[in-house]
């Protein structure tokens, strides 16, 4: 293994380093094949006596028209990563790092500019618990118009709404309904349609099927699959390895604020290299095949008090002495893995 990099060396990046930022901009601008590029992103939540490093140096590239699945357990920072990309972090702040969509920066520009040029137009989001994100006192139609107004949509509003509803196979009649008149699956479709209103290139979907029944869940996933076929990129945030495999070309496994393994779906699922990925796959029950499951001891570390070294150290069945130091980021065929075993 000659391709051993330290994360810092590979993606050394500082938001104030203008020269580097321009370099980055130019280089990713010339690589037309990259849709989304995230560079050493750090997001911290600060409370009176602690700093929670929810996202702590996350970097990955996503090829043109590809979709990515972000997998991790609760509190690993996967939702924060999504919120950071659409600049909707509440109570926290992006400390450093940059993200580029089609070569255009998402984080280095002003809020105003981001709203004007990017949010909902290029990148939109289906929020977690989307079924509760509709306002109960307004009709669906009013809520669609609110989105269009908020983003100063200049085109044909009726056509935009009609197209978005058609994309999620909902009848036009839902426009006159109030959220409580719709079933969970229909509400989820409405929320997805809202994310599609301005024709974004990338939709971030945070646990879009979690509260839904099994059959409805499958329908929503095939809907997302269909939209992806139509050329949209999806960033699917989920704890469910099964759901993620339906739609993600690339998979990022997150643990305690860091991506521990990144690669194509097949590489990560069929040949997992990080012990955490291996453990997750072994802990997932399957309807066919073996009934044996392997459990993992302990719980993830608190993100407010992480020291140096591999964050999986306490729970890793293969932990060694040198794992007390930060693990190297080793390139794999389709991505990277952060583990001393791969050195």
């Amino acid at each position: 293994m000659s391709d051993v990099y330290r994360t810092r060396e590979l993606y050394r990046f500082n938001a104030t380093d203008q020269f580097y930022k321009r370099q980055m901009y130019l280089s990713s601008g010339s690589m037309l094949l990259v849709t989304l590029s995230v560079r050493d992103l750090r997001v911290h939540y600060k409370s009176k006596d602690a700093v929670v490093r929810a996202v702590d140096g996350v970097s990955f590239d996503l090829g043109n028209g590809k979709s990515v699945g972000i997998v991790g357990e609760s509190g690993c920072g996967k939702s924060t990563l999504g919120l950071a990309l659409i600049r909707a972090i509440q109570g926290g702040s992006v400390e450093s790092g940059e993200a580029f969509l089609d070569g255009k920066p998402l984080l280095g520009i002003s809020d105003d500019e981001f709203s004007k040029t990017m949010r909902w137009k290029k990148i939109s989001m289906v929020f977690q618990g989307a079924m509760n994100s509709l306002d109960p006192v307004f009709s669906v139609k009013a809520q669609f118009y609110e989105v269009l107004k908020e983003h100063k949509y200049a085109g044909d509003a009726q056509k935009a709404i009609k197209d978005a509803l058609a994309a999620v196979s909902l009848p036009l009649s839902v426009l006159d309904n109030f959220p409580h008149e719709l079933s969970g699956g229909m509400k989820q479709r409405v929320v997805i349609a809202m994310a599609l209103l301005l024709g974004p290139e990338l939709v971030i979907a945070d646990e879009p099927t979690t509260a839904l029944d099994v059959l409805v869940q499958a329908q929503i996933m095939s809907l997302l699959k269909e939209l992806k076929k139509g050329g949209m990129s999806v960033m699917l945030i989920s704890h469910d390895l099964g759901i993620v495999s339906e739609i993600s070309d690339m998979v990022a496994i997150m643990y305690a604020g860091k991506i521990v393994e990144f690669g194509t779906l097949r590489d990560v699922y069929s040949n997992p290299r990080h012990p955490y990925t291996q453990a997750l796959l072994k802990a997932t029950p399957r309807i066919r095949g073996e009934k044996e499951l392997a459990s993992l001891k302990g719980t993830p570390p608190s993100l407010s008090s992480v020291g140096p070294g591999c964050r999986f150290y306490d729970r890793c069945p293969k932990a060694m002495e040198k794992c007390r130091n930060d693990p190297p980021v080793v390139r794999t065929e389709s991505g990277y893995v952060a583990c001393w075993l791969e050195e």
Partner: protein, 326 residues
């Protein structure tokens, strides 16, 4: 159905259980919701029966009927051979012998009580053991669920992780030495890496103490890991009932089949294959007449507007379907 269980002693049985709710609809018209509509099943000692279904299938209502939190409209519940009623004595007995683990360990534990008091409370309520012994019994239950009893006993629930909290909930359930534990989605709120530990713990306690489990879930993959038998519910009725591997690997009812088809397993081939689920979009027909599933069933024939009986198809397997497509 009783002969089937001849090899294992039957601990809990319900027969023809019914519970209807009334809902005031538009213009004071009363709408009747048949939450549980003629359900019969039994659990053998030391066995796990899975009650599976989507939301609104009546699975939680059944648990509440068994524990006497709701009064059944019809049917009987038999607990170790004795019929239970709604008199104080029989409710006290079933609530002692039959404990419950709830879905959300963040909501089911009183935030103002210390862990030791949470686990001890059922012992005090049911008057189990001498008051002086109860503390030791509660500590023993905490050790049984693999918690460091001395460490967690004086803590409050908010100081524990989700997995630890669910272990406390299990300790509370096993402290009065029940014969049956009703577990309502006990791992659905927990992280994948923590789930297996809880499931293994439940299995271990079952083997050691011969506890029977009624495991309520919508997650068929996890169900297969814990269960011996499974009941598939659809709108308050049993559509299929049998040994868990038989039902899940070779589903006979179209609804069971659709549920199994809808499961996404972590398989890289999913990305390129189209999932085929045999189910129609819902049409508006009276759901309480004939087969409940027929509006969504692609195999429905005219006869399905009659009520299909739960028919014995051999091997301890029961299916309520006229068509039974292969």
């Amino acid at each position: 159905m009783a002969d089937r269980k001849s090899q294992v002693e039957e601990i809990l049985a319900v027969s023809d259980l019914r519970k209807y709710f009334e809902k005031k609809a538009f213009l004071r018209r009363l709408e009747v919701i048949r939450a549980v509509d003629g359900v019969s099943f039994s659990i053998g000692t030391g066995q796990t029966l899975v009650l599976a279904g989507e939301s609104g299938s009546g699975k939680t209502t059944i648990a509440r009927l068994i524990l006497g939190a709701l009064e059944p409209d019809w049917g009987k519940i038999t607990f170790s051979g004795e019929m239970t009623g709604l008199d104080r004595e029989s409710i006290a007995r079933i609530r002692r012998e039959c404990q419950m683990i709830h879905q959300d360990p963040y909501a089911s534990l009183d935030p103002r009580m210390r862990v030791i008091d949470i686990v001890r409370e059922p012992l005090d309520i049911h008057g189990i053991g001498r008051p002086a012994e109860r503390r030791e019994m509660a500590l023993g239950a905490l050790r049984d669920v693999k918690l460091d009893a001395d460490d967690v006993a004086l803590k409050y629930p908010h100081m524990l992780s989700g997995g630890q909290r669910q272990r406390v909930a299990i300790a509370r359930a096993i402290a009065p030495k029940p014969k049956v534990i009703i577990a309502d989605e006990p791992v659905s709120m927990l992280d994948v890496s923590v789930r297996v530990g809880i499931l293994e713990l439940m299995k271990e306690l079952q083997e050691r103490d011969g506890i029977s489990f009624l495991y309520i879930t919508h997650d068929l993959s996890t169900a297969r890991y814990v269960g011996d038998e499974i009941v598939i519910l659809y709108m308050g009725k049993i559509v299929e009932y049998g040994k868990i591997d038989d039902v899940l690997l070779h589903p006979a009812h179209p609804y069971t089949r659709a549920l199994v088809e809808a499961i996404s397993e972590p398989d890289p081939d999913n990305l390129t294959t189209e999932k085929k689920i045999h189910v129609n979009p819902t049409l508006d027909i009276n759901p309480y007449q004939g087969c409940r599933f027929r509006a969504r069933c692609p195999y429905a024939v005219e006869r399905c507007s009659d009520e299909p009986p739960l028919e014995d198809i051999g091997g301890g397997r029961f299916v309520a379907c006229f068509v039974k497509p292969d």
